[in-house]
Structure formats: structure tokens, C-alpha cells
């Protein structure tokens, strides 16, 4: 069973959080951009076909027509205008809904028809005749208006209630979605921090694993890693061995031996002017890794280090030939890479072996075809 990668867990929480906030945004946009304008368009009282009741408009035209006829009953122009108003009134009255739901509609339309015919034929129209023809339709239209107003009021009330409930649901839903978004974000942030802590911890452990705890310099693994990190780079490797270190320990004790290792690590680093990386390979052996494009020759560095150690004249009571600490150094050049490093390491080791064979306290550097040797044995 494989563990789910942490980035996927984070992406999951983050994704959920973003989804929550996006949903909230969509909800708010939908409510403001589409729902409310639609409500406004539906209930608006003006500016559209049914904003004002058709029955109201029809009644107004009937009353205007009646007014014209009553003012000038014998005028052709007045009769013509009244006829025009009656036609408009008829068109707004002759609505399927009115015919279906108000019994007075059909007889009223028939009355309007009859009046239109009389206007067409001509002849006198007394106020009584006009009343006979128009009173019924006007009364019918008024009844329709009142009923429609009541219905509209009932619909509006129901709608207001529905809207209030809807707003409550939307508000509650928005709050829940918002809180969910916050919780998901918090989960994401928590996991991200945990992952960061774990990564830092791993890096710390990895760094520790690559350090020599006694001297603080790198260990063998660190050397390998540093070389492999720069493939193809021309490099130099110095293997540095403390001569007769066992005798030093036997004579002065291990605590002093540890102290000597620390001091030598510092001295080697100083003498190489901080341009080399230093590693402890185990026991009394150090390694120094140098980049070859730094200008300095390998032999020169070996000589400098040997001279500095001699100058330091660190006491070594157990040394069979001198009373101070001496080093054996084997050095070689190589090109970074798995094979290059192996051959470079082997060459440096061979050089070191030869120095030791020749009595220690000296160095041997192999720089390409040239081999430079110094043996300081007295």
C-alpha cells in the first residue's frame, strides 16, 4: 500500500476551499444579476405591456369615447373619435383570460359591438342609449380591475413570503458555504505547515547524516554527494592522513586525540584558504575537495599544507621520528562523475600509499600526466 503524496492532500483541501468560495461567488452573482432583475421586470407597474391592467386601459378608452359622444352627440368628428376609442377599448377588453374568468365579458363585448354598429349607421345617440350600451361594460371592467388587483395583491404577498424564505435559505446557505470554505482553507494551511515542518526536519536529519559530529566537517557520504552534484567538473582530491595517530592516542589519550582532529580540521581549512571542502573519511584520515578552475596548483596546495603543519609544530610525544604532528598527503585530479571520482579517489589513495611507503610526512600529487612528489622525511 502506498501513501498518498502530501501535495495531493493539500491540493484536495485547497481545491475544496476554492470550490466553496467559487460557489459562493456564483450564488451571489446569480442572485444579484439574474434573480432580482427578473423579479423587478415581473412586478414592475410601468413600462411594459401588462404593467397597467388591460382592463383599466380599456375602461379609460370607454370613458373617453363616452365623453366625446356626450359633449358633441351630433358631431361626426366626435363620433369618429369615439368609434376609434371604442375599438381600442374593445381590443384591450377582448382578452382570453377575461372571457374565460369573468362572465360579464362576453355580454359587454356584445354591447360594444352593438354600439359600434350604431355609430357606423349614424343617427342620434341619446345619453340614455349610451348608458345602456356602456354602463354594463364599464361596470364589468371595474369588476375585473378590482378582482385582478386582489389577485395581484395575493400573488405579491405570497411572493414576498417566498422571497423572504428564499433569502433566508440563500443567506444560511451562503454562510455555510463560507464557513466550509474557511474550514477547508484552515485544513489546507494546517497540512501545508505540517508538511513544511516535516520537510525541514528531513533536511535537518539529512544534513546531520552528512556531517562528522566530532569535527563538524562533512563525512564520506557528503564527499560523494558533493562530487556527484557537479558532474563533468574538473576537481582535485587530497587524502590527508595523520602520521602515527594511534600512538598519539596511546600516549595522550583519546580526548586529546579528538582535540587534535578538531585542530587539524581547522588548520587544513585555513591553509587551503577556505577554497576546499573538507571531509573526515574516518579515523585519522581527512579529504579535501577542490575545484580545479580556482587557479591554484595541486602540488602547491599540498606543499603549503605540509608547511603550515610543520610551522604549527603540534606536539606528538608518540611520534617515532619527530616530536610534532606530521601528515601524509596523496592527491589526484579527476573529472566529477561516478567513474571519474572512483578513479580519482583510487589515484589519490595510491599516492598516499606511496607517501606512507616512503616513510610518511610528505605528499605526492598527481596532476594529469605530471606527478610531483615531496617527501619530508628526515
Amino acid at each position: 500500500m502506498t501513501a498518498r503524496p502530501s501535495w495531493r492532500r493539500h491540493a484536495g483541501w485547497l481545491w475544496l476551499s476554492l470550490m466553496s468560495f467559487t460557489t459562493l461567488l456564483i450564488l451571489i452573482t446569480y442572485e444579484t444579476r439574474w434573480v432580482y432583475p427578473e423579479i423587478h421586470a415581473y412586478f414592475s407597474q410601468t413600462g411594459n405591456l401588462t404593467g397597467q391592467q388591460l382592463a383599466t386601459r380599456s375602461r379609460q378608452y370607454l370613458q373617453e369615447g363616452l365623453g366625446s359622444l356626450l359633449e358633441a352627440p351630433d358631431s361626426d368628428a366626435a363620433r369618429q373619435e369615439a368609434g376609434f376609442r371604442l375599438e381600442l377599448a374593445y381590443s384591450l377588453f377582448d382578452i382570453g383570460l377575461y372571457r374565460r374568468e369573468y362572465a360579464c365579458t362576453e355580454p359587454s363585448l356584445a354591447e360594444l359591438d352593438a354600439l359600434a354598429d350604431r355609430l357606423e349607421i349614424g343617427g342620434g345617440l341619446t345619453p340614455a342609449t349610451l348608458n345602456d350600451h356602456l354602463l354594463g361594460p364599464i361596470r364589468c371592467l371595474t369588476e375585473i380591475e378590482m378582482d385582478q388587483l386582489e389577485r395581484r395583491s395575493a400573488v405579491t404577498t405570497a411572493f414576498v413570503e417566498e422571497t423572504r424564505r428564499h433569502q433566508g435559505v440563500v443567506l444560511g446557505g451562503s454562510l455555510v458555504i463560507f464557513l466550509m470554505g474557511l474550514v477547508f482553507w484552515w485544513m489546507h494551511e494546517r497540512q501545508r505547515r505540517q508538511a513544511e515542518r516535516a520537510t525541514r526536519e528531513s533536511l535537518r536529519w539529512m544534513a546531520r547524516a552528512l556531517r562528522d559530529p566530532l569535527t563538524g566537517v562533512g563525512n564520506r557520504s557528503a564527499l560523494h554527494q558533493d562530487v556527484m552534484a557537479q558532474p563533468g567538473k574538473p576537481m582535485s582530491l587530497m587524502l590527508i592522513d595523520i602520521d602515527y595517530f594511534k600512538q598519539y592516542n596511546d600516549t595522550l589519550g583519546h580526548p586529546d586525540g579528538d582535540q587534535l582532529l578538531r585542530e587539524l580540521a581547522l588548520l587544513i581549512d585555513t591553509s587551503l584558504a577556505g577554497q576546499a571542502r573538507l571531509y573526515r573519511m574516518g579515523g585519522d584520515e581527512f579529504a579535501a575537495l577542490l575545484l580545479r578552475d580556482d587557479g591554484g596548483g595541486l602540488a602547491e596546495r599540498c606543499a603549503t599544507l605540509t608547511a603550515r603543519v610543520r610551522e604549527a609544530a603540534m606536539a606528538h610525544p608518540g611520534h617515532p621520528y619527530r616530536r610534532t604532528v606530521t601528515l601524509s598527503i596523496g592527491a589526484a585530479c579527476f573529472v566529477a562523475g561516478e567513474a571519474g571520482f572512483a578513479s580519482g579517489y583510487a589515484a589519490a589513495d595510491r599516492a598516499l600509499y606511496r607517501v606512507k611507503e616512503q616513510g610518511r610526512d610528505g605528499w605526492l600529487a598527481s596532476e594529469g600526466a605530471d606527478t610531483v612528489e615531496e617527501n619530508g622525511k628526515v
Binding site: E81, D94, I95, L97
Partner: protein, 162 residues
């Protein structure tokens, strides 16, 4: 003298009445023309000619009439392109019942300028002579007339609004 004065007044009153009648003639003459207004100019189109051009026929349930109607008319978008050269952004309508409205979104072949209903030319009484309806109003409830507030009746003039 008095008689001449009265006679002059009678003539003036007669002239005034005649002028008043002339001013009302377009209204009283009946809806036999459609006025198109565009770029400051006005064009009168004969409603009879439009009736002759009407080449779209279909039946649908008219929510206002509350019944199935067989109608005939013109595709309004094509009509606009023919007379305005394009489909204007918005249109201001003026109706014979003094209803005025400005609406947009006419680049839609679903809008029909209706000229006939059940085989007869539309009259004022039928909410004509020209009426704009949607050939297919989808799933909108025809029982609720507020769903059809964009329809325009008794069209008297159309103005292109830039």
C-alpha cells in the same frame, strides 16, 4: 356691421374647426400606415403592402387571445434589415393606444410581425394592424400574461435607437 362681424367670427371658427379636424385626421384616419424613423428621417409604409408581403404562416397558442390562432406575417429581423439596413441595437415602439416602449434583442428570427389572424387582416380590434409576437415562446407559462410583456400590439411607428 354686427352681422359681418358675426359672419367673420363664424368663418374663423369654421377654419379653426377644420384645422382641428385636419390635425386629428392621422389618428382618426385609422391605422393604415406604419412609420419607420431612422437617422432623423421618417418613412411611411403601407400596411396593405406589408400584408401582401407577409409570407410566414403558422399556428400557435396566443396567450392574450387565450386560444389557438392561425397567423400570417413577416420575419421581423428580415424586415428590419430590409428597411433599416441592419438590426438596430434597440427599437422604440409607438402604438395606436399610446403605448410606448423601447426594447432590444431583435436579432432573433423568432419574432414575427403579424399582419393576419385566422385568415383576416388584423384590425385595431384584434390588437393590430401590426403585432409583434414570438413564434416559439418555449416553456413560458401562457397562463401568466406577464411572461409576454415584450410583445407589442397596434404598432404605429418604429424608431431605431442607436
Amino acid at each position: 356691421m354686427l352681422a359681418r362681424l358675426l359672419s367673420r367670427r363664424a368663418v374663423l371658427a369654421g377654419l379653426g374647426l377644420a384645422a382641428a379636424l385636419l390635425l386629428t385626421v392621422p389618428t382618426l384616419a385609422g391605422p393604415d400606415a406604419l412609420v419607420l424613423r431612422h437617422d432623423g428621417g421618417a418613412t411611411r409604409l403601407s400596411v396593405a403592402a406589408l400584408r401582401d408581403q407577409a409570407d410566414v404562416r403558422f399556428s400557435f397558442f396566443d396567450p392574450f387571445a387565450g386560444e389557438e390562432l392561425a397567423v400570417r406575417g413577416l420575419v421581423f429581423r428580415d424586415f428590419l434589415v430590409e428597411h433599416f439596413g441592419e438590426v438596430p441595437e434597440a427599437l422604440a415602439f409607438d402604438a395606436w393606444d399610446d403605448y410606448r416602449v423601447t426594447l432590444d434583442g431583435w436579432d432573433d428570427p423568432g419574432w414575427i410581425l403579424v399582419t393576419h389572424q385566422n385568415g383576416a387582416p388584423l384590425s385595431l380590434r384584434d390588437r393590430g394592424p401590426l403585432r409583434l409576437v414570438e413564434r416559439d415562446y418555449g416553456d413560458r407559462d401562457p397562463a401568466n400574461l406577464r411572461n409576454f410583456n415584450d410583445w407589442v400590439w397596434m404598432i404605429r411607428s418604429i424608431k431605431a435607437v442607436p
